[in-house]
């Protein structure tokens, strides 16, 4: 049985070119950039060269890139670090209802620390309304954090407009770019982004590496204290192999992103069209147009997501349901609930996300399986018939 992986929003395989480029930094060029001898200098060069490449990728300056242990740490540093540094200016922070769960949990923490949090609702496609965002801005608002795109339903936010609004009102703008990186071009200057989180694995680099982009006037307080690496903002000896790996992943994207995204668009639009055509009472979650090229997200009346996931598992197909991160709990995804779905509707969802190593054959296998899986589960379902009347 051929294994088919269509869950690229959850985890990505590391590109073999990345692994190859990383290898020598484990054993040969193993130095610590803080050391002043030659071995240390080689490491410093690799670190700074990687920083430059990643800065270039998002149109930032070299000294605006802070390496972290991953996107979660970058988000913590960006949001908590900025909030704590600026609490004298105000204590109000705005996020979107549709943010990644890590951001919801971070602001929950900040709420306990005396910050006030507002959440902007989204429309039925998962888009943030600028008008609703603007109405939530207060004198004490210091930070707006809205992700570039949803990691679940793939909806792309009007980042340029949000950045402009934040700049006009003198509020810092943080964006979680993890779902979007590698799929949409990122330009921090054009979009007025002040703070941003990137992940290495989400662009086929190794896990355990991330970046916090910090524009010069938008300093944060460190949340990890130690030897003062990364200009004191992120202590701990730098993970040189990982950082080099991320920079190689970026280089590959700069060459291949356009072609790759076109291929994903073909997969996505083919899946959306065929599934909505062939499966009765099926619906697309997320935005019909402004969505990530890699993301197709459906829901099927009358059946439950976990049973869909298990059926696909039996066919050797890896997919996600509800939230990629929380399907273990079978709690309905907060993202789907934010788009206005009922719990039972959110449960009946199927997330298909494609990536670099998918082939046309993979898509064909999934497209053949979906109608069968759905109709078999509906035959077992006590609620499907009544719903269809």
């Amino acid at each position: 049985m051929k294994e088919v992986y269509l869950d690229y929003h959850s985890a990505k395989p590391v590109d073999s070119r990345v692994i190859e480029g990383m290898m020598k930094y484990f054993h040969e060029d193993f130095g610590n950039p803080s050391s002043l001898h030659h071995v240390g200098d080689v490491a410093t060069e690799a670190l700074e060269d990687s920083r430059k490449k990643i800065a270039d990728f998002i149109n930032a300056d070299d000294d605006e890139i802070i390496f972290t242990s991953g996107a979660t740490e970058a988000i913590n540093l960006g949001i908590i670090g900025y909030a704590l540094r600026n609490k004298n200016k105000g204590n109000h922070i705005i996020i979107a209802e549709i943010e990644h769960i890590s951001i919801h949990n971070i602001v929950k923490y900040l709420e306990r620390e005396g910050f006030e949090i507002s959440k902007v609702p989204v429309d039925q496609y998962g888009k943030v309304s600028l008008q609703k965002l603007e109405r939530r801005i207060k004198d004490k608002t210091i930070l707006i954090s809205i992700g570039m795109a949803s990691n679940e339903i793939g909806t792309i936010q009007p980042i340029n407009e949000i950045g402009k609004l934040a700049a006009e009102r003198g509020i810092a703008f943080h964006t979680d770019a993890v779902a979007a990186e590698g799929l949409v071009p990122i330009d921090v200057k054009k979009d007025n982004i002040n703070l941003m989180a990137l992940s290495s694995n989400d662009i086929y680099g190794p896990r355990g590496v991330g970046v916090m982009y910090m524009q010069k006037r938008f300093r944060v307080n460190p949340i990890i204290i130690g030897g003062g690496q990364e200009k004191g903002l992120r202590s701990g000896s730098e993970d040189i192999p990982g950082i080099v790996g991320m920079s190689i992943a970026v280089e590959i994207l700069q060459k291949e992103m356009n072609t790759e995204v076109k291929r994903f668009l073909g997969y996505r639009d083919g899946m959306i069209k065929q599934i909505l055509d062939e499966v009765p009472d099926s619906h697309l979650n997320g935005h019909p147009i402004d969505r990530l090229a890699s993301n197709a997200h459906f829901r099927f009346d009358g059946i439950e997501g976990e049973s869909i996931l298990l059926s696909f598992k039996d066919l050797g197909i890896s997919v996600s349901t509800g939230s990629a991160c929380t399907s273990k709990t079978l709690e309905p995804s907060h993202t789907l609930i934010a788009t206005g779905l009922l719990h039972e509707e959110a449960h009946g969802s199927l997330q298909l996300t494609t990536g670099r190593f998918n082939t046309d054959e993979d898509i064909d296998i999934v497209l053949e399986a979906v109608p069968n899986v759905v109709s078999r589960l509906r035959e077992l379902s006590p609620i499907y018939k009544t719903e269809a009347g």
Partner: protein
């Protein structure tokens, strides 16, 4: 009328409530009513000598009119016989306060109900037969928080121009055939229409039932709208699943309440 536009008398009782506190003793009875979702909980204490109420106190958690009505009730009942007090209605209390804003009549003016609960509990304690009207009292609490606040900001009492609902996630409260017709019509401009009914089925004519079944209207049975929520305009609603006694939020853009 705005929901906070109170008479001078209401404001006086709100600012200087009479008879705040509790009573204790063999000759004391307590009545407690309220709905935490509405934000009102009231306790009325009465001391009874023979057949006459000699003293009354109250404690209230709630809005201005809730406090004022309980305050006024305790003033009114002192000296009344139990039979007279049982006849005291919410309307009597409101009248004595020179009226209440209409929206507050339902939610807040529960003081008379609390009083009646106290009398009934006293009579039950004496071994008298008292019809249990608890369920009825609950049903009478027609409370929908936010309806007034969001009127014309996402809450509609009718659908004049259906194009206003284009692409809006719309919740329609079931109130008979007209509400079902409206829900079906709205599916022409938005693919998300939810019809909410507290019952297990909707009672409509067979032709309409068929049209409803073949439409994209999503019907939520055994569900009650408790609250309309949002900042500045309707953003979500709080729904009670009656069957499972569970409350949950649903994100919507518009609520249609045809009365």
């Amino acid at each position: 009328m705005k929901s906070t536009k109170y008479s001078e008398k209401v404001l006086d009782h709100f600012r200087n409530p009479r008879n705040v506190g509790t009573l204790e003793g063999e000759d004391v009875a307590v009545g407690k009513v309220g709905n935490p979702t509405c934000g009102d909980i009231m306790e009325v204490y009465i001391r009874i000598d023979g057949n006459v109420i000699t003293d009354a106190k109250f404690r209230t958690f709630g809005c201005g009119s809730a406090i004022a009505t309980t305050s006024m009730t305790t003033e009114m009942v002192k000296g009344m016989t139990l039979d007279e007090a049982m006849k005291l209605t919410r309307q009597d209390v409101a009248d004595e306060l020179d009226g209440l804003p209409p929206i507050k009549m339902h939610c807040s003016n529960l003081a008379a109900d609390a009083l009646h609960e106290a009398i009934k509990s006293y009579r039950r304690g004496k071994g008298e037969e008292v019809p249990d009207e608890d369920e009825k009292v609950k049903d009478e609490i027609e409370c929908l928080v936010g309806k007034d606040e969001f009127l014309d900001k996402g809450v509609y009492l009718n659908v004049e121009d259906r194009n206003e609902f284009k692409d809006l996630r719309t919740l329609v409260l079931y109130s008979g055939d007209e509400s079902v017709e409206t829900a079906i019509e709205l599916t022409e401009v938005t693919d998300r229409v939810i019809l909410l009914t507290p019952d297990e089925t909707v009672v409509i004519n067979p032709e309409l039932a068929e049209r409803l079944a073949s439409s994209s209207v999503k019907v939520l049975y055994q569900s009650k709208l408790l609250e309309v929520r949002g900042e500045f305009e309707v953003e979500k609603v709080l729904i009670l699943n009656i069957d499972e006694d569970e409350e949950y939020e649903l994100f919507v853009d518009a609520v249609v309440i045809i009365e």
